[in-house]
């Protein structure tokens, strides 16, 4: 009995680590800039021979530009003066808000951020004042969510044509006024009784809103749908796996769900999206074959939803190795030929660099964390990465100046054991996942050349890295860790140039914007669902802006290398 309690305790510890696994069209506000919309729609290439990244002041879509690069063209803050970066303002997001996986948008002078409980806030980008809050009615009681039992996160809004689009935990796509926060329409995108829930930010483009559903661990059937941005009417749906009982999907099984916003290539009318694991998760014998299209990058026609190509990162997955993080597009010269490229960091600990036109590898996949796994059995087997993944939902950044993508990694091996039982509210995990006692939880932050497929530099980080990265024309790349330390590295060589200890864990990457000629770096902090444990020292969810000459904050620990 004591052993059982001990085992359960270990399982709980494991669950504290696993909770996030399974979690736009540019537009200007009334006072916004025309450049924002044009730049976001332009999908300019970012390679050395192509046009440089869009020269805009705000951050109107999830990854700032259509290619989802998270590369800010501002260079006021650079490698020479980043040491002068300090706090400009700091705003709390409400009582008892403890998670923050929201990636804000900035349109004109306003920041749009969501909370883990689906509120949308318009915040003045210069002062931090909350102008309005949209508070939807949400049913949080369904017995699923991140890691089971209704743990809720919200990864942000999309914007187009004066509207903001938000997905609520109980599977509603809602359009609200960008100016006032008034609700315009609401559409149910999936029945919560299926176990499906929402955690992703949608993507808005050309009058359509692209939406997936989450919940592979419950056997939810994955899909990507397009909705009419004016009316909320469904236009098309692409299912990522067959129905239950058909082909490889057993009764109660499914998977291939989606956790992050799709990336749209406006030039080719292609939607790129990554999919999650098959279910039942640990019991492969019940789902023979490759289990298409789970753990895959999909390229779909934006107008029809028709599949153009797929690239499966993990065939017949037995470890919960989703292709979860959002896709980044870039232009690159390889062997004298210009290529449209695509990057995605898998939960299996490999960075994939693909030809965006065909889905074929540009280079062999690049490992960025420890990898050593074997098929799980009824005896505990140590698996690296653990089911929390080598990289979770964490967005990459891409700098056209360094021709590198920046990858957030998690070094956390876990024991997997097939039990055929359901735990933690997840109907189709079919096993246990346990963090070995006294195992250090660490991370990596890695720069990989998209023109070589080689690691340029890498840092061992003191904690798992969840939030992702943001690069800038100032030669910098920003990322934050679970201790709450925000780092600025030299994008070219990885030099640790600046730190600020915010004391609130990072579950997101910063955004960068300028107002009246002042460049701001905006951090949203409060922790990923994965980090929501007693181990965190301080709790809360905040939005904190930095500018040159702002209030100095303490630094974090010295990095080892």
């Amino acid at each position: 009995m004591r052993l059982k309690v001990l085992f359960l305790g270990l399982a709980v510890l494991a669950m504290a680590i696993v909770l996030a696994a399974c979690g736009g069209g540019g537009s200007s506000s009334a006072g916004g800039t025309t450049e924002s919309t044009e730049a976001a729609e332009g999908s300019a290439g970012n390679g050395p021979e192509a046009a440089s990244a869009p020269d805009i002041e705000d951050w109107p879509v999830f990854g700032r530009d259509r290619d989802n690069t998270r590369f800010a063209t501002q260079d006021e803050i650079d490698t020479g003066n980043v040491g002068e970066l300090g706090e400009a303002w700091s705003t709390g997001l409400g009582p008892d808000q403890y998670l923050m996986e929201s990636y804000p948008l900035v349109i004109g002078e306003n920041v749009y951020v969501t909370t883990s409980t689906d509120e949308v806030m318009q915040i003045n980008g210069k002062t931090g004042h909350i102008n309005w809050t949209y508070t939807p009615e949400v049913d949080f009681s369904q017995s699923t969510g991140v890691g089971g039992y209704g743990i809720t996160v919200n990864r942000g809004v999309a914007a187009e044509g004066g509207k903001l689009f938000v997905l609520t935990f109980d599977n509603k796509l809602q359009a609200i006024s960008e100016k006032t926060g008034e609700r315009l329409w609401s559409s149910q995108v999936e029945d919560p009784a299926t176990g499906a829930y929402e955690s992703m930010a949608p993507t808005a483009y050309d009058g359509k809103v692209f939406v997936g559903v989450s919940g592979s661990e419950d056997g939810v059937r994955g899909k990507l749908s397009a909705y009419d941005a004016k009316t909320g009417k469904e236009l098309w749906t692409f299912y990522t796996v067959p129905k239950q009982g058909e082909k490889w999907v057993p009764k109660g099984g499914g998977g291939g769900t989606i956790y992050m916003p799709p990336t749209v290539d406006a030039a080719t009318g292609t939607v790129y999206v990554g999919t999650g694991n098959p279910a039942p998760v640990l019991v492969g014998a019940k789902r023979p074959g490759k289990n298409l299209y789970t753990d895959s990058i999909l390229a779909l026609d934006a107008d029809t939803g028709k599949l153009k190509w797929y690239h499966q990162e993990q065939a017949h997955d037995l470890w919960d190795y989703d292709a979860e993080s959002p896709v980044v597009l870039f232009d690159v010269e390889i062997d004298g030929q210009m290529k449209r490229g695509l990057a995605e960091a898998g939960k299996n600990g490999l960075l994939f660099l693909l030809d965006a036109e065909t889905g074929e590898d540009l280079f062999p996949p690049v490992p960025f964390v420890k990898r050593a796994h074997t098929p799980p059995t009824t005896k505990p087997t140590l698996e690296c990465p653990g089911p929390v993944g080598g990289s979770q939902y964490s967005p990459l950044a891409y700098s056209p100046e360094t021709q590198a993508v920046y990858v957030s990694g998690i070094n956390l091996c876990m024991y997997l054991k097939v039990t055929y039982e359901n735990h933690n509210g997840e109907k189709q995990f079919a096993g246990d996942r346990v963090v070995p006692k006294d195992t250090p939880k660490t991370g990596t932050f890695t720069a990989v050349g998209v023109d070589t497929g080689k690691v340029i530099w890498e840092h061992s980080m003191p904690t798992p890295m969840d939030g992702g990265a943001t690069a800038s024309a100032g030669g910098l790349v920003f990322t934050g860790d679970q201790q709450g330390v925000l780092y600025a590295f030299d994008a070219a060589d990885g030099d640790d140039l600046w730190q600020a200890d915010l004391k609130l864990a990072f579950g997101t990457a910063p955004v960068i914007y300028s107002i009246d000629g002042t460049e701001y770096v905006l951090a949203t902090v409060g922790g990923a669902a994965l980090t929501a444990s007693e181990e965190l020292g301080e709790i809360g969810a905040r939005v904190i802006a930095f500018k040159l000459g702002g209030k100095k904050l303490p630094t974090g620990p010295e990095l080892k290398g």
Partner: protein, 152 residues
């Protein structure tokens, strides 16, 4: 006759003291009692909104018994202020007589402990309670069950 009355009175007194001691000082029992008495979904009628001005909400109770460190939450409590949906999690359910208590977790059911739930079960499906959290202060409310099914 007088002696027997005296003995009977003494016996009643001893039993009463023993019962009171057991109730007041005895160890609380895990769980909130039988499934039928509390599992389900509740409306929240706010009597006192606390420092954040709670206006309403909903409580969903899932399971009968819990233990420290268990993998599951016992309940999800949404409390609505003017501008926020606050979602907290009830764990480590205990009962003693009509008293019902739990700890309150923030962020997730494995998150930090941010407060407590102390209530009285007036009858099956009806609990009058005080919920105290770091962010909301002390909220007093009556929880009235409207469905015995915890899921929609």
């Amino acid at each position: 006759m007088k002696r027997s009355t005296y003995c009977l009175g003494l016996l009643v007194l001893v039993l009463a003291v023993a019962t009171a001691t057991a109730v007041a000082g005895g160890k609380a029992t895990e769980g909130w009692g039988s499934n039928g008495s509390f599992i389900g979904r509740y409306h929240v009628n706010v009597l006192s909104g606390g420092s954040a001005g709670v206006r309403g909400g909903e409580l969903t109770m899932f399971i009968q018994e819990e233990f420290p460190g268990s993998e599951e939450p016992a309940g999800i409590l949404k409390l609505r202020t003017k501008t926020n949906n606050d979602v907290v999690y009830l764990k480590e359910l205990k009962r003693r007589g009509h008293a019902r208590t739990a700890i309150v977790k923030g962020g997730s059911f494995l998150g930090p402990t941010i407060g407590n739930f102390k209530g009285t079960m007036v009858k099956a499906g009806k609990i009058k309670a005080t919920v105290t959290t770091r962010g909301l202060g002390t909220v007093k409310a009556v929880f009235t069950r409207y469905s015995k099914k915890p899921t929609p």
